[in-house]
């Protein structure tokens, strides 16, 4: 297994990095203490874009959710930004908090993807950078 220094997150602060392997990672979002709305990714300014007050606090989001939408992409995206494998699947996962997270899906069999299916958070390789280090990201995997 690669050491942590060889695993570059796609974005800092998107998920927790527990010290122990027994403790699974969680996405870090924002929760509004005024209106109760949640967000992912977390809002750096602490500003709730629903009730428009500066009352957001960091929160760990549920690790499990349900597939709300998905598509399997069969061709390379335009612009050269994406360096992962093709085909790949992405869509939205509904979390118990009532929010929808746009996410890649991890699966060996795209037929596993179905609306409302339970999925769980994993941190997984997206691609490698120029120096051969793994770029890792959050994905949801059917359970």
């Amino acid at each position: 297994m690669n050491s942590e220094s060889n695993r570059i997150p796609i974005h800092e602060g998107f998920w927790t990095t527990p010290a122990s392997e027994d403790e699974p990672p969680q996405l870090i979002g924002s929760h509004c203490e005024s209106c109760g709305e949640s967000f992912f990714p977390k809002k750096e300014k602490g500003w709730c874009t629903y009730c428009r007050q500066k009352t957001l606090k960091d929160v760990r989001l549920s690790r499990r959710g349900k597939i709300a939408s998905f598509s399997v992409v069969m061709q390379q995206p335009g612009g050269g930004f994406y360096k992962g494998p093709v085909p790949y699947a992405y869509g939205a996962v509904e979390l118990p908090e009532g929010i929808y997270v746009t996410t890649l899906f991890k699966t060996d069999d795209f037929d596993e993807l179905e609306l409302h299916r339970d999925v769980e958070l994993v941190i997984d390789k997206l691609c490698e950078d120029e120096e051969g280090r793994d770029i890792v990201t959050f994905k949801f995997m059917p359970v």
Binding site: E37, S69, Q76, P77, G79, Y88, Y90, G91, G98
Partner: protein
């Protein structure tokens, strides 16, 4: 705030379209200036009559409108470039109409043009990590909406194929369309998978091309017979809680919006125009992806949610049907030069309302509506009336 209905009347005096297609050796200003010259001739105006120009484009870089205007004449008029994704052309049209309605100018040019980058649209309307995650595949973003639409309404990939077949059939009679050839259900359903469940022929082709229009006040119009009145042009952007995966915006279960952006833009345009969906004789819906035409028709208020596939099958959206949709072949036939598309839709309505659409003419068309979406998100609705 003032409603357009309380302001000076605005008319479309003329329009110009280039033949949309694939032109490796021509640049956007070549198409753009060609469209301007056609629109000038069509309207009966000279270039000296034009007091301002609003130019829509997306990928053409700094001052692209100026590049096109340079080929027509340097008269010192204000040229404003408008980038509003696939709504750029209709957004530029709206700004031009507003400036005439507000009596700032009497005669204004609108231009929409694009030479498309090759391959799938490299949309950059996303955060860097979203781009690196491959979330900028607009076909897949539509596909995400499509699987939900299929579950909610029972619509099928065959229904979507039927949209392509209808629009490609209409495109046969549009000399400006990129594709002027019919396709069969089998060809659509056997084309290669792009983003499940959507196949290549469920997606509109891209194209290079331009559209132009001249808008003016009624006292300036050269031909009252061929004039078309602008009754409304609305533009909305994202509303909280509405899922717009194509703009990186998540849905909220806790706080869903009262109206989505399409419904909101339609409501505003109907209120300003004083018309309702039942008054429309011709409709240009936004068929970047075949299923989108169906939910577009529903969201604009032409039928209830889930009814569009059946109405399509019954021929309601055919030329000669109850609500002819995309009479010029839509994006499916015209192709999609991003900055020109929204204005191209409006040009088709002008053509129809003048009774000049030849074999694709809707008999007695008097009132018409065009709808364009765009990344951002954007939703623009334009309502026009004959004379």
């Amino acid at each position: 705030m003032k409603d357009m209905s309380e302001m000076r009347e605005v008319l479309v005096a003329g329009f110009g379209l280039t033949q949309w297609g694939y032109y490796p050796d021509r640049e956007c200003y070549d198409f753009g200036s060609e469209a301007i010259l056609i629109a000038l001739e069509d309207s009966g105006f000279t270039w000296n009559d034009v007091q301002a120009a609003f130019c829509g484009s997306v990928y053409q870089g700094t001052g692209s409108g100026h590049q096109a205007v340079k080929e027509v004449g340097l008269t010192g008029i204000p040229v404003v470039n408008v980038e509003n994704a696939c709504s750029s052309g209709s957004s530029a049209f709206r700004l031009a109409c507003q400036s005439v309605a507000a009596e700032l100018y009497d005669t204004v040019l609108v231009l929409g043009m694009e030479k498309m980058p090759r391959g799938p649209i490299p949309s950059t309307a996303f955060r860097p990590w979203e781009l690196a995650s491959g979330f900028n595949v607009q076909m897949a973003n539509y596909a995400n909406e499509t699987v939900v639409y299929m579950e909610e309404t029972g619509a099928t990939v065959e229904d979507f194929a039927r949209v392509t077949v209808k629009n490609r059939k209409n495109g046969v009679h549009n000399p400006h369309a990129r594709f002027q050839k019919e396709v069969t259900m089998e060809e659509v359903l056997n084309s290669r998978m792009v983003a499940t469940p959507l196949r290549l022929f469920h997606c509109c082709p891209l194209a290079d091309g331009a559209a132009a229009a001249i808008v003016c006040s009624r006292d300036k119009i050269r031909s009252a017979q061929r004039a078309v009145t602008v009754k409304a042009c609305s533009l909305t952007s994202g509303v909280y809680g509405e899922h717009s995966i194509m703009a990186g915006i998540s849905k909220s279960r806790n706080h869903p919006p009262a109206l989505g952006i399409v419904e909101l833009s339609a409501k505003q345009a109907f209120e300003t125009s004083g018309y309702g969906p039942e008054d429309m004789d011709v409709v240009q819906a936004y068929d970047t992806m075949a299923p989108a035409e169906l939910w577009d028709i529903e969201k604009l208020g032409f039928c209830k949610k889930g009814e569009a596939p059946r109405l399509l099958k019954e021929g309601a959206f055919d030329i000669g049907g109850r609500i002819p949709v995309n009479t010029d072949g839509g994006l499916m036939s015209r192709g999609h030069p991003l900055g020109a598309t929204g204005l191209g839709q409006i040009c088709e309505l002008v053509c129809q309302l003048r009774g000049e659409a030849g074999k694709r003419q809707v008999a007695g068309a008097r009132i018409a509506l065009a709808h364009a979406m765009g990344a951002g998100p954007n939703s623009s609705v334009t309502i026009l009336k004959a004379r």
